[in-house]
Symmetry: C2
């Protein structure tokens, strides 16, 4: 891959960026308030427009680097640097190294990291250390004892609540919720514009916190009649087309009220431990069944609104386009917004492009999930690219939970040899399943895992006499058993001369007359 050109960026000489874009509050390190100060946003825009940044690298037609981290977030680092916020970049990477040393680092900044396959299949709950991370900006570093959250907008009584009050069970009733976080990952390789997500962008954790519904009711005396959406603002800084924002997203009031309020929690605990910084310490939203982007981290403000949030993440990203709008005609108004996650599943083992020596059975395992309050009913796998489908037995799947994955395992009958396509699809409690082919569900900008996941494997079936014989020969000649040893000309003779001539004469190549 060509090295990106070096950026040539510097703030205008007469502006002290460190002063202009200083942190808002003591002990709220890494938090700059933007939304309250239009003139500050305008100044940042001016500086960004006047600066030059490293071009976006080419991902579509070149192989990904095999480095760790896979990709380097030159541009986002430079956005921060030009505004005097380099400290956020450095502190974020330190947090990655402390809290998430063993993830697959897809992008160093904003940090995007994925769970390894082995860890993913370890248990029904993902250990905090191994849970994947999708950040949209730097990681703030805020002390819990000074933290407070502001709730305003279309509510009867705007309030500020300290963490201490929020965590007091005598003030607010607490709840726990097992929640799947799942990130979209690209399906076809030709439209990859962010981090190269794979099948490890999923994880399950139990969160503890207070239902947002209860906070609105108890602390604010309820919402006003016009309120239809709740907006969440996070302490991280977000950039879009030379403008700067605090991270902002929203969910409908309907979702906040669903299931006695247990779908939308203000959470401070993850699997019985304090939230890691990477996951939003001291406080985050967790929104069950929705795309992870709505579960705002480091949330310090909630606004009750008539309309969905005007933040770019809510309005201009995480949209589903139809193929014939596609890339070239995408507008923010012609994609629909992803809130609920569709039914999704993935094969974790075997690996794509793996050579498998087997005796007629190949063990597959993976995960299955559905959003929107649906649960996984059935998982099916195919050994022929999606014509014949076998159902996974219930005893080989983990227990059903609302809003959580099921892990599955299957011994697939495979007779055929050579390159085969293995697939998985899942049926959920609303009888949805995934389209069979990537192209059937292709949509630009994002690809949630909404088509049947498929891998190519090279099958060698030892129950076939010819393969058993060949494997023995390879072994005798000290050759590895892999697609390479099988597809390059053998150094040794494949069949004795006499055997060959006997067959050659018995079934001659030319007709008799």
């Amino acid at each position: 891959m060509a090295q990106p050109e070096a950026a040539q960026s510097a703030p205008p000489e007469n502006i002290n960026v460190h002063k202009a874009f200083a942190e808002e509050k003591a002990d709220w390190t890494g938090y700059v308030e933007w939304e309250e100060y239009p003139e500050k946003k305008a100044l940042a825009s001016k500086i960004l427009k006047a600066s030059k940044f490293t071009p976006i690298p080419e991902f579509q037609f070149v192989p990904l680097p095999d480095t760790n981290p896979v990709l380097i977030g030159h541009r986002w680092k430079e956005y921060h640097e030009v505004l005097g916020l380099k400290g956020i970049v450095d502190a974020s990477w330190e947090t990655v190294q402390r809290e998430k040393p063993d993830l697959i680092h897809l992008l160093d900044f904003p940090y995007n990291g994925e769970t390894t396959r082995q860890q993913l299949m370890e248990g029904r709950l993902t250990d905090n250390k191994y849970h994947f991370v999708r950040n949209h900006g730097g990681v703030p570093n805020i002390k819990e004892d000074v933290y407070e959250i502001e709730v305003g907008g279309l509510v009867n009584k705007p309030v500020k609540i300290s963490m201490q009050d929020l965590k007091n069970p005598e003030k607010f009733p607490q709840a726990e919720r097992r929640i799947e976080q799942i990130h979209e990952y690209p399906g076809d390789g030709d439209e990859l514009i962010n981090a190269p997500w794979g099948e490890g962008a999923i994880g399950t954790a139990v969160y503890r916190g207070v239902p947002l519904k209860k906070v609105l009711k108890i602390a604010c005396g309820g919402v006003l009649p016009d309120c239809e959406h709740l907006e969440f603002i996070g302490a991280d800084t977000y950039f879009k087309k030379n403008h700067v924002f605090n991270y902002a997203v929203s969910v409908p009031l309907r979702k906040v009220r669903a299931n006695q309020g247990t779908e939308v929690l203000l959470a401070w605990e993850m699997n019985g431990e304090p939230l890691p910084k990477m996951h939003g310490y001291p406080l985050r939203l967790v929104v069950a069944g929705y795309i992870g982007a709505r579960s705002c981290k480091w949330v310090y403000k909630i606004n009750a609104l008539k309309e969905p949030s005007m933040g770019p993440v809510q309005r201009q990203e995480y949209l589903y386009y139809t193929p014939q709008i596609g890339k070239q005609n995408a507008l923010y108004s012609n994609g629909f917004s992803i809130q609920n996650m569709p039914v999704s599943s993935a094969i974790i083992f075997p690996l794509d492009k793996q050579t498998i020596v087997h005796d007629g059975k190949i063990t597959m395992s993976g995960w299955a999930y559905s959003g929107g309050g649906n649960w996984v009913q059935r998982v099916e796998v195919s050994n022929d690219g999606g014509s014949v489908w076998y159902a996974v037995d219930e005893e080989n799947m983990t227990t059903k939970h609302y809003h959580a994955w099921r892990l599955w395992k299957y011994e697939l009958a495979v007779d055929a040899e050579g390159w085969l396509e293995l697939c998985v699809r899942t049926w959920d409690s609303s009888n949805n399943t995934e389209p069979t082919f990537v192209r059937s569900a292709w949509n630009w900008d994002l690809h949630v895992t909404s088509s049947a996941h498929r891998i190519k494997i090279y099958s060698i079936n030892t129950t076939r006499p010819a393969s058993a014989k060949r494997l023995k020969e390879l072994e005798e000649h000290g050759q590895a058993i892999d697609t390479r040893s099988l597809s390059y000309p053998a150094e040794f003779s494949l069949e004795p001369e006499e055997e060959y001539l006997q067959k050659y004469r018995k079934y001659p190549r030319e007709p008799a007359n």
Copy 2:
């Protein structure tokens, strides 16, 4: 790609390889006789077995180098070097540079080179300078005035014929034949073991020479009743699994006799000029409708045989395997031999992965061919990966000839935008056509062009208002119009804020109730 390890090869100390494997005749530079001397072959084998050669590089899972030549034939050079035949390697490359400077050099030794797309579509006959080359060994350098050909085996009278006599029209009647040469090329990228052939491995030339049938009759008094095959031996040296050979192939007597003998010529002229050295000067076979490998170059011996040639190229290569024998169980006896070429076609323009801005029509062009005495009847193209097929008009195809290609051109209606698959297929005079998908016709070791050729293009249709508008915007912002500019986030705003909000409110993302 990892650098291959350096070879550690040297002939045994007590053997003077230059003497042991000296050239057979004066002024026959580069020709070593192997087939007459079993003890010489055995000695060469011994040396080859005792030597270590550069490992075969990995082609299957890594991208091809973008060097010129694309691949370097380390092993074949070393085979020659260890036998004291480095002179052949050097002389061959000099000949390439003199005769074929403008081919795409796929492999430097043995030389494999392909015609560029532009040259390929220049005319109905391919200029000698641009005709593709598939060699299996080095290029001998033999003076015509000392050259002679020996005809023996199951004939009434074994003879030697000088070039002077062969070219004397009073001794042998001459004939011309327009002949397609076509080389197999790999279809799916995962089994590439030789040169990375593409769609330019085809060419048409008119050859002049003497029908082999006439030589057998006039010079040898005919063949004996047991003769069923004619074997051709070439002056180039061929290696296989530590054994050394002269290049040897055969065709059935039936083929030699077909069509008054005009299908199999001993040729010295190509498109009205003496044969280039790369193409077999001073004398070669040309076998119409067969795979090019049978058209033996630098032929100095013809043997009339009961059975097909026992040479490895005839017996052990150019075989068709069935997928479930595939790589791991391939034996020489379980593939069938490729003689006649199947119906084949290719798209030459547009290029694979090209971005095409068009007004509802995309111009496609390419070639179509069929072997075995069949000719091209109809060419069809598809704009949807192979469901709907449009026939090319006769006026947009070149004239039919026996054993020659037809070039074609078509204005394809394309409404859809984004990544599309365009395909071509051909119907021949026996009503054969190509299978639609590569995998339908997959066979290991070789892939002749026997499935519908398909390319992916990125379509931008300017008759669609949204695309016309976007192209104008890209132009105004000085951005190139390609898949990159269309698939990366635009630096400029995609739609005015008010327009967006108007649509957003007219068609809200959430249901009314």
